[in-house]
Structures are given as C-alpha cells and as structure tokens.
Amino acid sequence: MATIQPVVIFFILGVLAGVLKSDLKIPEALYKSLSIFLLIAIGFKGGVSMAKYEITEVLPIALSMVVLAALVPLTAYPILKKLGKFSQADSGAIAAHYGSVSAVTFAVGIAFLDGIKETSEGYMVLIMALMEIPALVTGTVLARRGAGGETQWGKLMHEILTGTSIFLMVGGVIVGYYAGIVKLVSPLDKMFMDLFMGVLALFLLEMGLLASARLSAIRAKGPFLLGFGILFPLTAGFFGAFLGAIFQLSLGGTMMLAVLYASCSYIAAPAAMRIAVPEADPAVSIGASLGVTFPFNIFIGVPIYFEMAKFFKAMF
C-alpha cells in the first residue's frame, strides 16, 4: 500500500500537543488565514486544470454526481436514528455533516495523488462546492419533518451559498480558470500551488489540536460513533468509487469522488445546521466528524479509496 504522506504527520503532532497539554497555540488569525488560503488554492488549482476541458461537456456528469450525493444523508439518517438512537434533529444534523464534504480531506487526497504523480479532473472542486447544497438541504428536511417552528430556508440558503467555503472555492475556480485561459497562471501559482502542501501542514497541526479537544464531546455515544465514523465513510467511499468508474472518470478522479462521498464537514455544516436545526447538539456532530472520521480518512481512508478506485476502474 502507498506510503503515508509526511504532511499528515502534522495532524498527529497537533493531537500530541493537545494530549500532552503543550502550550502550543495556533493564533486564531493564522488558522483563518490558512483556511482562506487553502480554499482559494483548492479552487485555483481546480480552475486551472478545468481550463483544459470543454465545460459544457462535463457539466451533466458533474451535476448528476452532485444530485446523487443526496443519497449519502438519506442513508445516514435511518442508521443514526434507529441504530444510534439519536433524536430526529441530531440524526438529521449529523446526516447533513456526513453528506457534506471536507475541503481539508479533499486537500489531503490531492496531496496523496501528487505524491504518486497522479492527477484528477479539475472540476472535482466544483462538485465539492455544489455537493454542500443537496447534503445540507436533505439533512435539514430530515431533521425538521413534522417539527414545529418554521425552517429559516432563506437564511440557510444564503449561508450555504455565500458562506466562506463555497464563496472562496468558487472564486478560486473562476480566477484559476481565467488564468488558465489567458495563460497567466505563472506568478500566482508560486503562491497558490507551490505552497499548498506547506500550508496544509500548518492547517493539519491546528486540526490535530482541535480534534484532541473535541473527542471528549462524543464520550456518551462513543462506541456507536466510533463505528459509524469509520464504517459509514468506507461505505460512502465505496459508492463514490463505483460511481466514478461508471462515469468514466480518470483513476485519480474516481478516487477523489470516493473521498468526496466519504468525507464529512466540520466547518460549513456546523454553521449551516446552527441556523437550520438549532435544536441539534453541535458538539456531537463535530466530535464525530473531526474526532473520528477526519483522522480515519486522512490516514487510512485515502489509501483505501485509492485501492477501491483501482478496483472499480479495472472492472468497468
């Protein structure tokens, strides 16, 4: 199996700093700056490589993959409700988190492909941005079916569409696409491509610190969420790899679709669910997605999704 990327070791260092009660602290402004950088860089990289495709050609494929992403929360919900014995609100909210995606897991997947000199379709980043919508909307509908009080749909859609994550990724795609077309990628890439891995390293350090502080929140439902947080992304990733192969994506693209289906959100989704399903407990969903699924994905999941992609690509 593929070697572990050096960059993910920074996550372990962060966890360790938390566990050892080191006085290491990442300034909040740095954390935010790094995430602004990463979102733009992910979009920019995708946009540059999209400039090589005919957009109209890929749009239908991309859209179908986005729509099919609604299956993820629809599957997660009954499991959480029946097996996990979570309330309707919590089940819907957690389902929304797992239907949604994690830009950092995506970045680790890209880094993994870079390491083995593979690439993926540039428009995967657009799929990532769009997938938020069906995931968060489906999760909200599930959480609030028959519930009293009115859902703040307008506020929710505004939050999703203009939230920092989607806004910066789509913005990055636009600039990257334009730069690719007019052949002026060059001086911008020194920042947004060359430094990508280094910035990811610092970001993972902070993720580790945050994860170690969040794990305690899921203690009550610990065993169930540990199982769910590992088995569910594996299943979702399997489904994603299958879809990718069916849609004739490249090997790298097939793996990245698996990563998208398998990854879950801990930044955009919590903000959206706070508005749409305020009665859900955010500590549980963040604890599961950041404390269990995120580390599982970046260390073990990503190489497995690559094997799944190889398997399905050989099949179809």
């Binding site: 909040e28 954390y31 801990y266 930044i267 919590p270 903000a271 706070r274 955010p282 963040i286």
Partner: protein, 105 residues
C-alpha cells in the same frame, strides 16, 4: 467627592451581530456617549458563547454608557421592545461623572 454629577450608568450585553442595530437605537434616542467592547463571552438563556470557539463564532458586545436619568428613561423605553429579540441583558445603576472632560453624556 465634589465636582461630580450624578448620572445613570447603563450596561448592556447583546450579540455582537446586533451591534450596529443597537448603535442605531442609541443614535435615535440622542445618546451623546457610549463605550463598547467586542469579543465578550458569556452564558445566558441561549447557552454559552465563547469567543475562542473556532467552529461557532458567537460573541457578545458589551456597552457601557453614562447619561442623565431622563435620557436613560428614554433609552430604556426605546430599547425595551427590542430586548426580547436581542436577548442579553440591560443593567442600570447609579454613578458620579467626574467633571473635567467634555460633557458627552
């Protein structure tokens, strides 16, 4: 302590998001001075708010203002209907303004 003026001291805590709205109300009432501090944390009826929570940026703003009793009454009258929606708190106490700086109360 001579050379002081007796005023009312108001202390208002609201969501930082509502800061501009509160400032508008203060301006409408004609308040001539206030001080505010952002990034406050707290506990209230809607749970805890922590300025250091990276996932949920929920912070409070705290306003302190000294004004004449009449002005304070006007302000409370204007503010009260909004307080239910704003949440937070509004405290009133007595204080003495030391005469010296421009009388911005």
């Amino acid at each position: 302590m001579n050379a002081t003026i007796t005023l009312k001291r108001l202390e208002i805590v609201i969501d930082e998001e509502k800061l501009e709205e509160l400032i508008n109300i203060l301006n409408d009432v004609g308040v001539r001075g206030y001080t505010f501090i952002k990034q406050a944390g707290g506990l209230g009826s809607r749970g805890t708010r922590r300025p250091d929570d990276i996932f949920f940026e929920q912070t409070n703003a705290m306003f302190i203002l000294a004004c004449e009793e009449k002005q304070a009454e006007r302000l409370v009258t204007a503010l009260r209907p909004r307080l239910k929606e704003f949440g937070g708190m509004c405290l009133i106490s007595d204080c003495e303004w030391v005469i010296g700086p421009a009388a911005s109360y």
